[in-house]
Structure formats: C-alpha cells, structure tokens
C-alpha cells in the first residue's frame, strides 16, 4: 500500500466505524427502549443512545465493547488458561497450519503429476475441479464427528478439512506456474540434454514460485476458515470456532465478535507471513503473477 492510498483507506475505515456505531444504536434501540420503559418514564434520546451503546447482551456490540472484551480476555488470564482468547487462537492456528502444510504437499504433488503426465491431466484435473463443488465446509462438522467416532480427535480432523480447502488453489496455481516456464528456456534445457527431472528442478520449479506464493496466500486464509468451521461441533472445547458456537448458544454477542476479530487478525497475520516468505524466497520480491 502506498501513501497515496492512506487517506482513502483511513476515510473508508472511519466510515465503517461510524456505520458500526449507527448500526449499534439502530439495532439495539428496541431492546434498550424496553429496558428504559421498565425503569420508568421520562427518559430522553440521549439516555436511549447511551443505553444502546452499553448493553450487556447487545444485538450488535460497539467497537469499544469488542476491543475491551478482546483486551480483558487477552491480558486478564494466563496464556495457557482456557479463558484466554490467545489460547483458542493458538489451537486454531495449529490446526490451520498443520492442514496448510498437508495441503501444500498434496497440492504440489498433484500439480507435478498433472504437469508431467498427460493421462492425469485429462482424467484427474476435471475431478480436482469438481471436488471443489462438494461444500466441504458444510459437511466439515460431520467429518469431524465421524473421525471422532473412530478415534481420531484433536488436531487431525481439523487439519484434514483445512487441507481439503487449501490444496485446490495450490494445485491450480502450481499447474499454471509449472507451465509458465518460457518455451525458449525449455528448448535451451533440451539442447543441454537435461532430463525431465532436471528441467523440473532447475527451470519449472523456480518459474512456478511467484504463482505458488500467490496461491499460498489464498490457501493459508482458506485453511483458517477450514479450521474454524471444523471446530464448530467440538462445542465448548477449544478453538475460535468453539468460541463462536458457545457465544451463539449463550447469547454472548461480544464474545462472538471478539472471536471473529481474532480470527481476522490470525488470517491477516498468516497471509502477511506468507508474503514475507515470498519476499525472502522469490528473487525480485513480489512476482509477476499478481
């Protein structure tokens, strides 16, 4: 982001904040009116607005309520405590990263196979695409329950779902990247009588890196989504998804929102980490795939 964009982004962010407060007043007004009426007549609009912004169980909590909840749940308890949001974030991040690692291996392997074998390209690639029309997120809780029934609990089921979500962008990006080697350089490799493996390692793989990293950024965000949704059925246990669900059960809206904000922060951090790795590994920094 350049400095040229700083002002527009700041204005937009401010607009979002203002809209958020207005929305909080508007959405919380009916409940707040009830409460004020019960307390007695003679309340003013200012009272109403103050009440809507400081409700215990608001329909829409205000940004400062969410920030306060985030602050207390991050600093009020030790990191290993189940009441600390950072602990839940760690659980989710672990599952997401494990799934991401598996997805990278699977995605790259599939892409290498597809690029090297024409039979795979014509028969497997359509099914890789079709596999994405299975709404895995929607059936993720089921998979977790089933795997739990046969003794796989904890990290693995969540990682599998995260893997399923993130292998596809990696495969597609990697196939494109492996094919993006310049025909001229491919010919050059042939004149050096380089074998398939050598061409792959020395030419195709480096050529694919910019595409790979673009896909990795999408994939790492997807893996967080997978891990969170996979945590839904574990109920009151650990993870951001479990926090969302328990917040939804007990009407703790502020808890839902702070878990959401934390999830967003986690995604953005992971995407930024991939971006840093890209800068370190790809010659010339951010590659041409963008």
């Amino acid at each position: 982001m350049t400095t040229r964009n700083t002002l527009p982004v700041a204005v937009m962010a401010l607009a979002v904040l203002v809209l958020w407060y207005l929305g909080a007043v508007w959405l919380n007004a009916p409940t707040a009116t009830d409460a004020l009426n019960r307390a007695g007549p003679g309340w003013t609009t200012a009272d109403l607005i103050r009440a809507t912004l400081a409700m215990k169980r608001p329909i829409l909590p205000t940004p400062d309520q969410v920030a306060l909840d985030l602050y207390t749940s991050l600093t009020g308890y030790p990191v290993t405590s189940i009441r600390n949001l950072l602990y839940h974030t760690g659980v989710t991040a672990g599952a997401a990263l494990a799934g991401f690692g598996m997805g990278v291996v699977l995605g790259v392997a599939l892409a290498a196979g597809i690029v090297q074998a024409r039979t795979l390209e014509s028969s497997l690639l359509p099914w890789v695409i079709a596999s994405q029309t299975v709404p895995i997120l929607a059936i993720a809780p089921m998979i977790v329950v089933i795997l739990g029934n046969i003794g796989f609990t904890g990290l693995l089921p969540k990682a599998i779902i995260a893997m399923y979500l993130c292998f596809f962008p990696i495969t597609i990006g990697m196939v494109k990247g492996l094919r993006s080697a310049d025909p001229l350089t491919l010919d050059l490799m042939r004149t050096y009588s380089a074998g398939t493996a050598q061409t792959f390692r020395l030419l195709r793989l480096p050529a694919s890196l910019p595409y790979l990293f673009t896909s990795l950024k999408i994939a790492v965000a997807a893996s967080v989504v997978g891990a969170i949704v996979a945590e839904l059925p574990t109920g009151g246990q650990a993870g951001l998804g479990a926090r969302l669900l328990s917040g939804s059960y007990y009407g703790q809206t502020v808890q839902i929102w702070s878990a959401l904000v934390m999830a967003a922060l986690l995604s953005v951090t992971l995407v930024a980490a991939v971006g840093l790795a890209e800068r370190a590994l790809v010659p010339g920094g951010r590659g041409g795939a963008r």
């Binding site: 099914w127 809780p141 939804s248 967003a264």
Partner: protein, 371 residues
C-alpha cells in the same frame, strides 16, 4: 506437442501383476480359502481380462484398443461384486484384490489412450475416471466390510437417495431455490453496482480495495451465528450470510475487470467522442466479462457453503444443513451422503452452467483459443 507420434505408445507391463492373482485365494468362506478355478464366474471374468491384455496389440485404432481393454477392466471390477452377491467374504481374498489392482492399472492405459484421441470421445476419460472411483469405493467398502457409519457404499447412498427423495427435494428447495439464489443475486448484484460506483469515484475504489483484500482473508463464514441472531431462522439470515460472503469477491473482480480495457481502446473511444457511460457499456463492461464470470464462479460455491453453514446455527426444520446435522446425530450416514451428493451436483451444475455461459458470451477471449 504433436499428438500423432505418441498416439499409441507401448503398454507398460504393470497390469501383468494380475497374472499372479490365481496363486492367491479369491475368497475365504469359513476358514477355507477358495482359489480361482473353484469359482466359475470369477474364472470366466479373469480369462476375459487376460485375453484383452494379450489381444491389445491387434491392429486397430487407439479407440478400438481402449474399448477392448475397457471390457477387461469392466470384467475385473464385476468379479468382486458378483462374488459378494454370492455371499463370499472377500476381506482376505488376496488374489482377488491383486486382480482388481491390476485391472486398475489397465484402466490407466485406457485413460492414456483416450487422452490421445481427439474429439468428444476425450470427455470419456474423466467420466471413466469418476466411474472407476465410485466402483472402487463400492467394491472396497463392501469387500472389506467398512462400517457404514464410516463410509457407506455408493449403492446404499443411492438407495437412501430414492427412499428420501421427497425430503431431499424439500431441502433443495429451501436451501438452493430460496436461500442461495436470492442471496447470490443480491450479493453479486450489490458487488457489481458498488464496483461501478467505485469505478466512477476513484477515491472510493482506493479505499475499498484494501478492505476487500482484507475481507478475503477474514473467515466470513464466522458471521453466520450473528446473522441468524439478527435475521431469524428463515431464509433471510442465510441470504444475509451469502450476501456478505459474495460481495467482496464480486467487487474486486468487477473492479479489476473494468480496469482491464487497454489504453489504446479507451483512446479510440475518446476519439469517437463517447462519454463515460457509453464507453462503459460498449467497451469496458465487455472487457470485464471474463473477470465478472470469474467472480460469479467463485461465488457460486461460496453461496452454497454459506447457506449450509448458516443452517447449522438455526433453521426451520428443512434444508440441507439441517438434514446433515440431524442425520449425523442419528448416524444415518447414507442420508447424509445423499444430501452431500445433491449439494455437489448442484454446485457442479451451477458452475457448469456459468462456464457454459462464459464460453458463449466471451468466446473472443484469448483463454478460449485452441492451443
């Protein structure tokens, strides 16, 4: 990349592993092992497969060879099904599984041949691959008696599909026809309109794009419980989740598409004295079509996911998400898989329809040129 000189490469000898199959048991009822010659049906099918392997060098087209070998593969896949129907347990029938494994390698050869053939027959390759996957799933789950709670065989899913057709149709109507379609249209439409607005007001675009990129990293499905809290259990909350999920992909893609018109084309439009709206309608929107379709395709799967996940947080007693969560709780996995099949089929059809429309509308685009 010429195809003619590699139309009929020699077959690798892997499928010959199945020659070793008769030495191992083909079925093992009550402790005694049964071998191939003791099972007439299996023997006939085995002979057919070996014959097709030996006959594959007969003069003929690649297509002919593929069909011949396919007969062998079909025979091999039929063998375990026939034996299962005769009541033989197959879990320890090493010979049979070696036979099936060899036939699967033979299928690879068929796929390679089909990949080399030009014309619509090429489409048979992926279809066969999928069919083989389903058949292997059937044979393996039944042969090794995988508990249906873990993975029901496709035949059971098909039975459940037929038995619950009415429920599944109601779910489809509630989730897809009511929630998904409305949410999808509202979300994509809003994204498109805001993109046009942002294109007109560059300040807005510069502010919205980073937010859009941020939103693509945020797990938007997480807002499902909030939306259910706000909009109630019916379709409105599902549509709201979908709108939030689909808005930014559409916005980003439309914006990128609107900027894809080339400078020289824009200059030409200006030299014709065309105004903003005319340029938009005649040049920039057509140029943006590939990007628009990209956004629409991404959103088609997102919308389905959003609706089903939102139904986990509360729903009227109908809908795919409701069906999945309740039937999992009752361990009726066959019904769950039938629902998944409906969802996957819906997603594929939606995606396919969009791809087809894209082909028709943007036939001029370089990505559709023949290689």
């Amino acid at each position: 990349m010429s195809r003619s000189n590699m139309a009929r490469p020699n077959m690798a000898p892997w499928p010959l592993v199945m020659l070793a199959a008769p030495l191992l048991p083909f079925a093992t009822p009550d402790g005694t092992a049964l071998y191939l010659p003791q099972l007439p049906v299996a023997l006939a099918l085995y002979a057919l497969t070996v014959a097709t392997i030996l006959a594959h060098r007969l003069p003929g087209s690649a297509l002919g060879e593929a069909l011949l070998l396919l007969a062998g593969v079909a025979a091999a896949y039929a063998a375990p099904l026939v034996l299962l129907n005769q009541g033989h347990p197959l879990a320890q029938a090493g010979g049979l599984w070696l036979y099936v494994a060899g036939a699967t390698l033979l299928l690879w050869r068929v796929l390679a041949l089909l990949a080399g053939v030009s014309g619509p027959v090429r489409l048979a390759g992926p279809a066969l691959f999928g069919l083989a996957l389903v058949l292997l799933w059937e044979v393996l789950t039944r042969g090794f008696q995988v508990p249906t709670i873990l993975l029901p065989p496709p035949s059971l899913v098909l039975t459940a599909f037929a038995a619950n057709a009415a429920d599944l149709w109601d779910d489809f109507r509630q989730t897809v026809l009511i929630s998904v379609l409305r949410g999808y249209l509202i979300g994509c439409g809003a994204g498109f309109l805001v993109a046009i607005l942002a294109d007109r007001v560059p300040f807005l675009a510069r502010g919205l794009l980073p937010l859009g990129n941020l939103a693509s990293a945020v797990p938007v499905v997480g807002i499902a419980p909030i939306m259910v809290m706000w909009f109630g259990f019916d379709w409105q909350s599902k549509a709201a989740v979908i709108v939030v999920m689909t808005f930014f992909p559409m916005l980003i893609n439309t914006l990128a598409g609107l900027q894809s018109a080339e400078r020289i084309q824009l200059d030409l439009m200006r030299s014709y004295g065309a105004g903003y709206w005319r340029t938009l309608a005649m040049l920039r929107l057509p140029c943006a079509l590939p990007f628009l379709f990209n956004g629409l395709k991404i959103n088609s799967t997102l919308a389905l996911i959003g609706a089903i996940v939102a139904e986990f947080f509360g729903t009227p007693v109908v809908g795919m998400g409701f069906r999945i969560s309740t039937q999992v709780a009752r361990m009726n996995l066959d019904v769950v898989w039938a629902t998944i099949a409906v969802a996957a089929l819906t997603g594929s059809l939606l995606y396919g329809a969009l791809a087809l429309a894209e082909r028709h509308v943007t036939a001029w685009h370089p990505s559709f040129r023949k290689r």
